[in-house]
Symmetry: C2
Subunit: 199 residues, 2 copies
């Protein structure tokens, strides 16, 4: 990595951390410059506008999510083991990654009424994630780990719900049991779809 790229990555990591606390919309070149003890003009050399900074910060977060959640799950055997790995890494992401919670989940309510390139990138990422989960579920059906009548999109929707509830309770209510609750909910949900397979 060249020095310019390295600096940019360092800046984006700090931007992710800041965005996790104040939201992507709250991210500004001024506040980021202050945290990095850099000049605003120095930052402008890397990011021409606030919107470009927001877009690159979101992209960096999506890349990190792929590296920490998707990629390791792909090494697990297809079917339930992979679906479990995906869900488990996702919870670990919520628990350990950024100081102020998941940038993408926060952005989901921030940008639902703000059309533009940031929203478009966010939506594309959320659709990609949902597709990947639905695919993992479909493979679990093909492997006969889950019942044939399981609807992959419905189950993917319910898995997102569990993650959102864990994020909500952990971040807003400071409930340390939320991750355990999410794991319980997930296992019971799988059980319901497996039991049906046997019946």
């Amino acid at each position: 990595m060249r020095k310019g790229e390295r600096t940019r990555t360092l800046i984006l990591n700090e931007a992710m951390s800041l965005a996790s606390r104040v939201g992507l919309e709250g991210l500004s070149i001024g506040s980021l410059a202050e945290r990095l003890e850099m000049s605003k003009s120095g930052l402008f050399a890397h990011f021409g506008s606030k919107e470009e900074l927001q877009l690159l910060t979101l992209k960096q977060t999506q890349t990190l999510f792929r590296e920490q959640v998707f990629s390791p799950a792909l090494t697990a055997p297809r079917g339930l083991p992979r679906l479990r790995a995906l869900f488990s890494h996702w919870l670990t992401w919520l628990e350990h990654d950024l100081p102020g919670g998941c940038v993408m989940l926060a952005a989901s309510t921030e940008y639902d009424d703000r059309p533009g390139p940031v929203r478009d990138l966010l939506v594309a990422g959320q659709r990609e994630l949902r597709g990947a989960i639905a695919k993992a579920i479909r493979l679990a059906i093909d492997e006969r780990h889950l019942a044939a009548q399981t609807d992959p999109w419905q189950l993917a929707f319910e898995l997102l719900g569990i993650v959102l509830a864990a994020h909500h309770d952990r971040r807003l209510l400071g409930d340390t049991r939320s991750i355990a609750r999410a794991r319980d909910a997930f296992e019971r949900l799988l059980e319901a779809h497996r039991a049906a397979a046997i019946a």
Copy 2:
């Protein structure tokens, strides 16, 4: 209602509508004055500060939620009918109430890292809501509509997840099936806890 109160209520309704789009944090006396075609100083006479405006707007939303979700559910017979009514009114709230989605759900990610009176009021409201759902579940257990081993707090957590997923998909992804998915998820969840009661 006196004229002063009436004006205040009108202002707060407009503030709720604005907050549903830009978030409580994005709410400002300036932008609200513009929408209402009032002077900023006229608005300041009603709300001494941005924080007071945010607090009163949130309080008004919580009151509306109680009136539209809680209160009508209490007229349904205790047990499953009441729990179903609560969930159903909650989804109707998401679907029809405010142009930009639920103020409280959006505020949940907005304020998870912003300590202060707005966050405190929001947390108090979310805890009250969770308690009411857990109570409705407990009554359904007492009525033997749900299995004795059902954990009211776990099930209440899972119900919140379904609502959050519906809000996410409807608002961010523009998915019109999300409310139907939420109803399906809810019914299957109840079924799992009822089946256990019979077994």
